[in-house]
């Protein structure tokens, strides 16, 4: 009951939207708005927007490509531009790159196979809105479940991301061939984070781990200022 106003966007083919909404509600105490991809507008005065995992539009053309051009994404891009925090997980990360909110692209895993397991990550920037609940360099374990998680950007972009502290998470072991082991990146303003691993699937012991909880705690704490 902190008055935390968040929205979870559901695209046709999203399948982690309930997990995301559940995580946000458990941590904040407030039920998120559920927004359909075809809506033109977001609820007013949002504190946070989440783009969940899944296979929006069946991954047609390219993962996230169709969703990035859906009506609601115009509103999400506009809100992100105003500084509203946006988190994209898995397919949500793919949508963010396709929408141009984050640099680079997510390609087919280098090993071709779909990867579905828990992976160790390193927190590479513990200063961001999303990661302030972690220690710099902390090792955390999140589940991954993706086919197209192989992060690609040209060297100049990768250098810039690293130089500006915009790599939020790196894989601590080989997972999908991502450039420089990048698992999650921030935009220049620091209010948009895209990541392939699933923090919302590591909230409670029953899910196998609780390392993801600190991310949602970071966000809620960071945004609820007296």
């Amino acid at each position: 009951m902190s008055g935390f106003r968040s929205a979870v966007i559901t695209f046709p083919g999203s399948n982690c939207d309930r997990d995301m909404a559940d995580a946000l509600e458990k941590v904040s105490g407030d039920e998120p708005f559920r927004v359909w991809h075809g809506d033109a507008d977001l609820p007013e005065r949002l504190d946070f927007i989440a783009l969940p995992g899944g296979f929006s539009y069946g991954d047609y053309l390219r993962s996230g490509a169709m969703a990035a051009r859906s009506p609601i994404m115009r509103a999400v891009v506009e809100a992100a531009g105003r500084g509203v925090p946006v988190l994209g997980v898995c397919n949500g990360f793919q949508v963010l790159t396709e929408a141009g909110l984050l640099p680079g692209a997510l390609m087919r895993n280098a090993g071709i196979r779909f990867v579905c397991r828990e992976v160790p990550l390193k927190v590479d920037n513990a200063q961001s809105l999303f990661t302030s609940g972690y220690e710099q360099g902390q090792r955390v374990v999140f589940p991954v479940a993706h086919h197209d998680g192989n992060y690609f950007a040209d060297d100049a972009t990768l250098d810039r991301l690293e130089g500006e502290g915009r790599v939020a998470f790196r894989y601590a072991e080989p997972v999908n061939g991502s450039a420089r082991d990048i698992a999650g990146v921030l935009n220049a303003a620091g209010n948009v984070l895209g990541m392939m691993p699933h923090p919302e699937r590591a909230i409670e012991k029953e899910q196998g781990g609780t390392d993801g909880r600190a991310m949602f705690v970071s966000v809620v704490k960071g945004l609820i200022r007296a």
């Binding site: 692209a105 390609m107 087919r108 071709i112």
Partner: protein, 78 residues
């Protein structure tokens, strides 16, 4: 009129699918194939009002991801 848009990965971008296809070809006993790159071809049926500039914009806005892909537009004579 038919338009074909060929979308391919930029040179230098790793193509795991192309590599897997190459390995399969080797497995089938075909030799001499040093590289395989997989792309896609998209066919559009358009009327006379669709300009080259419009096709170019379609490619840039949706059909290709300019971060990783190149495209080529070909108008096919009916």
């Amino acid at each position: 009129m038919k338009v074909r848009v060929y979308v391919s990965l930029k040179p230098g971008v790793l193509d795991p699918q192309g590599r897997a296809i190459q390995h399969s070809l080797e497995g089938l006993g075909f030799s001499g194939v040093s590289d395989v790159r997989a792309g896609k071809m998209i066919e559009l049926e358009v009327d006379g009002t669709v300009t080259d500039a419009a096709l170019d914009e379609m490619c840039r806005k949706l059909l290709a991801n300019m971060v990783i892909e190149n495209y080529r537009v070909e108008r096919v004579a009916a």
